[in-house]
Symmetry: C2
Subunit: 192 residues, 2 copies
Amino acid sequence: MIAEVHASRPGGRTARVRADVLAAVESELAEHGYDGLTIDAVAARSGVHRTTLYRRWKTVPGLLVDLLEAGADDAWEPADTGSLEGDLIAVNREIHAALTARPSITQAVIAASFRTAAAADALTRFWEDRYERTALVVSRAVARGEIPGGTDPHQLLLTATAPLYHQLVLLRQPMSRDQADQHARIAAASVR
Amino acid sequence: MIAEVHASRPGGRTARVRADVLAAVESELAEHGYDGLTIDAVAARSGVHRTTLYRRWKTVPGLLVDLLEAGADDAWEPADTGSLEGDLIAVNREIHAALTARPSITQAVIAASFRTAAAADALTRFWEDRYERTALVVSRAVARGEIPGGTDPHQLLLTATAPLYHQLVLLRQPMSRDQADQHARIAAASVR
DNA sequence: ATCTTAACGCAACGTTCGTCGCATTTAGGG
DNA sequence: CCCTAAATGCGACGAACGTTGCGTTAAGAT
């Protein structure tokens, strides 16, 4: 998620317009949720003309994609708690917080990903990047001799994190933080 | 998912219209995917008037909801293979097949559930029903003495099935049937 | 067979959506 | 400071969407 360095004219007004628009997207999202998020509403709130939004962002999902990329934390890496189980619990708590926040930007972007291919691609890239970085907790555990070297990082992370997404996003039912912790423990125990 | 028994006039023409429409929805879905699924296209293909579709089904997600309910198998129950692991593998293979089919009705309904509350509710009810029935594999395992009595069925099923949904639906990446089996084994082992 | 009325067909309407051509502003370079 | 072109503002347009009023058909009751 590198910021667009080769933009032909990223200066003053353009940057200000982008900031205004993304701020409006966030506010609109907070007030009316994803369904109330429309190009016209964002245009009205931001003071930027409809046509400009259609030209630069094309669609509502496009706006959310940009919001996602603008907020991408390039320095993110999983916490090091000293044990595999502790690391997985920390990861799951982050996911749990992101999915239960109201409004949840993550939930909104997921919804958007079912509308346009561009949003789906952006989200896939984002998650690929995150899971790749999170694989660090597995290699650290291997280095500590906690788990065997042949362990598949992705399978392990899937076991730990998938239940949160499934329960909170698809099944649309509550999940306590304790339950989230518990799934991290199950995953950690599965590779011992 | 009981068929609407108290419909005031479900007879001949009305039933025929519904059958024509749902058939058209399925065909249209197969050819153009969810994005190409529009009220007008379904009306044209089915020979039923636009207005009728708007009156009875309101929205495109509404059409998919009805398709889901029409295809609901009220007799469904999980296969009995004689072991918890075998049962979970069987369940996961069904889910795997449903999510990798092309076109996948399940994937389409999931996409629809992010558009209208009615679709989200219908899907939630459907899954609640399925997971409740699938809990049978857990009670059978308890009866066989395979696992302790205090086992939480939902947590176990979540561990087994969530990775499939997450990988195939949200992460939008492939998963082999062997990997699906593997997650069933991990779940089975987690309660031993 | 007749009647009632729910369900459907039909045409027209207003709204929202996304696009286009053109004028205006302004960032960034000479 | 001036010049060029990218970015934005503006108004209008056509198409798609969803709704409404009214006439017609036919299911189900008497």
